[in-house]
Symmetry: C2
Subunit: 418 residues, 2 copies
């Protein structure tokens, strides 16, 4: 019974939060304060800012190619160093602490080196540390597979470590400390009127990936959503509240649009005059998937005219455009399509909000705003809580600002940014 | 049956051997050549030169005090990085290789952080790597205790890792690659006529600690001796043969003196006029041992005169002198000794050789040489294969050169240096 009353907390500090000795000491002081707020505190730490690049440079020096298993052994050392240093800084500040690496915790993953997925976390050792009255300092980003090989969790993996650990511990709160004040309605660098969101649902956070992924790794949001872990994204450089990422039923006031996301590095490919037959889309996108090309938006135009031909347009990341064109040329000649055309001069702009589910008219209002700005819409895609459009890459900033002004600065979504 | 025919080899590369990317590639090329010489090759690697100091500086920045457990987590990352990089360099050079850390091997130690002792090595994983036809690249210096805490083996610990692994594998050879050509008859920096030894017994190597410990960690020699592991100490910067450290029965030609060792940082303490009684020495040296002071030479003069008083003189490391004096003053006033006097202006010079066991006259010849040079002998201590004297610190170089000229350059001990 007593156990269910325990308040456990997980905090995660990113690389800029532990960039140098002074920052380690500052973080240690913050952790010392947080201890009083809970019965058990686990701190997940990333490698010091710059360390991962330093290690990658060493690897480039010795070898022309990246060997995944060994790269993980190399990179995991960065979090190991940070965990040891933070633990020292804590003990030095009078806070009992014990560092734990991925295999000590233990964080069990699959064997996909460089992008491993967590399968389970055994919190026995962390609980032992709590029982000693100490803080568990856990090396982020790393795990261990069934054969005791070191694995790493991919970009932003320490977020995943933190949220998964919070879920495994049944922690009531996961704080993600970073170098920004929280999640913003859009990117403040291109829209000065962007405001910090006080609360956002997991789903909105996922749909805002283009904005939000810079703050919180997507997979960690999915994990938080599945286990209903409340996440508080905030700055380690101030005491200000950040953004709470929480279950939808904890969002009091549903706003129509919570954010405007964008993606610049998009490219568009159209296959013209495909003979329309069952299985056509499967063969087109199967070929892309086999080549590891991730497709974002897909639009297929209705078949018009007597010859039963159709057009398929899709977007991919810019870096995959050449590969996609090559594959589509192969498909086109195989099935007898007329033409493959492409453009890497496009970008995607999306508005996201839970309120769309219950309120009609967001789409038409969005299209009207863009039309008024003279921005031509090349593609449209919608999901339950998001509407995305593809526009000329040069007009992305203009579109974001216009939509933000209409949907957010018009309403009351958050507090005004800095 | 087939198994007993297998030829296994362990190589160890120190920090200067892997100081930068070019060195990693050079070492990888050397390992590639060595593969053909055996059926299984394990390579133990130290942290890159300078890395340990870099990590210690980081620790100093975050914390005013060294916390042993966390210091080991921090420092072990150095060998982890080196092991990953060397493995990459090997694969890049067409040599299949797998890195293994202390807990992966696994190298089980006690829990004495910073100076852990190896209790056992489970070679299962190393044998699996051999079975794949790959080189096992083992992070040196590190192990893991019964609770899965990372431990380190202390200064020169990678030598210990290599020799212990060779013993556990039943390897026929352990090659220690370093930045010197082998073990010399004395320190070439103070005696230009020093020569490289071709072969030396484990016991001689241990007695030459003052010279040899700079090349090969003492504990690793003890381990090699116990398990009869032949050790070849050689340079990673050339293809020249180095020095073989082998069982005594493999020394063909017993030489009278194989080396001249010296130690500068010695201090001498004399307690005068101790009332001679049983248990006296025990109380004197028990007090020093309790304080962690390592005593080297001990001389007790015979009791002369009617009042049954005796003098005890011993040497300690210079750094322990103040502590030793304080303890001796306590002992002196307790047991009623007359006086405690000390000097830190002394050094030790030793001649070492298996041949002494069967040939008389080495001691008298040694004392004659020193007398001829006008060097006063302050203390004498002998073991089966070593004679050590304490002399004025300023005369150490002179003594080494004179003894080396007489006992070594006179005979045929090794090949001329450089």
């Amino acid at each position: 019974m007593a156990d269910t009353q325990r308040k456990l907390m997980v905090q995660k500090y990113g690389g800029t939060s532990v960039a140098d000795a002074a920052r380690f000491r500052a973080v240690a002081a913050r952790i010392k304060e947080s201890r009083g707020l809970c019965d058990g505190l686990a701190v997940v730490v990333s490698a010091m800012a710059g360390e991962t690049n330093r290690l990658l440079d060493l690897a480039k020096g010795v070898s022309g190619f990246s060997y995944e298993r060994e790269l993980d052994v190399l990179l995991a050392s960065g979090e190991q160093v940070a965990a040891a240093l933070l633990t020292m800084a804590l003990i030095d500040n009078g806070v009992p602490a014990v560092s734990l690496l991925g295999d000590q915790v233990r964080i069990a993953t699959d064997s996909s080196f460089g992008r491993a997925r967590i399968k389970s976390i055994d919190v026995t050792r962390v609980e032992e540390v709590f029982a000693q009255g100490a803080v568990a300092v856990v090396a982020g980003f790393q795990g261990v597979d069934a054969d005791h090989n070191i694995t790493t969790l991919g970009r932003g993996g320490s977020d995943m470590s933190a949220v998964a650990l919070a879920a495994a511990l049944g922690a009531g709160l996961c704080e993600i400390y970073t170098d920004v004040a929280g999640v913003f309605t859009t990117d403040p660098r291109i829209c000065p009127r962007a405001v910090k969101l006080n609360r956002i649902s997991y789903d909105e956070m996922l749909e805002l990936a283009g904005v939000g992924a810079r703050v919180l790794q997507t997979r960690s949001v999915e994990c938080a959503s599945r286990y209903r872990v409340p996440v508080h994204v905030r700055s380690s450089f101030s005491d200000e509240e950040g953004t709470w990422v929480v279950p939808e039923d904890q969002i009091m006031e549903e706003v129509l649009v919570s954010g405007v996301a964008y993606e610049r590095d998009e490219a568009k490919v159209t296959v013209h005059g495909l003979p329309d037959s069952p299985g056509l889309a499967a063969s087109v996108f199967g070929a892309l998937a086999d080549a590891g090309v991730v497709v974002d938006m897909i639009v297929q135009t209705a078949t018009i005219g007597e010859d039963d031909r159709t057009d398929i347009t899709f977007t991919v990341g810019n870096k995959d455009l050449d590969k996609a064109i090559e594959i589509m040329n192969g498909v086109a000649s195989k099935v007898g399509a007329r033409d493959v055309i492409s453009s890497n001069e496009v970008g995607k702009v999306s508005v996201v909000g839970l309120g769309m589910r219950n309120h009609a008219g967001v789409a038409s209002r969005m299209f009207r705003v863009l039309a008024d700005e003279g921005i031509n819409i090349q593609m449209i895609s919608t999901s339950e809580i998001k509407i995305s459009v593809i526009v000329d890459a040069a007009l992305v900033d203009k579109a974001v600002n216009a939509l933000h002004k209409t949907f957010i600065n018009g309403g009351a979504t958050g507090t005004q940014a800095g």
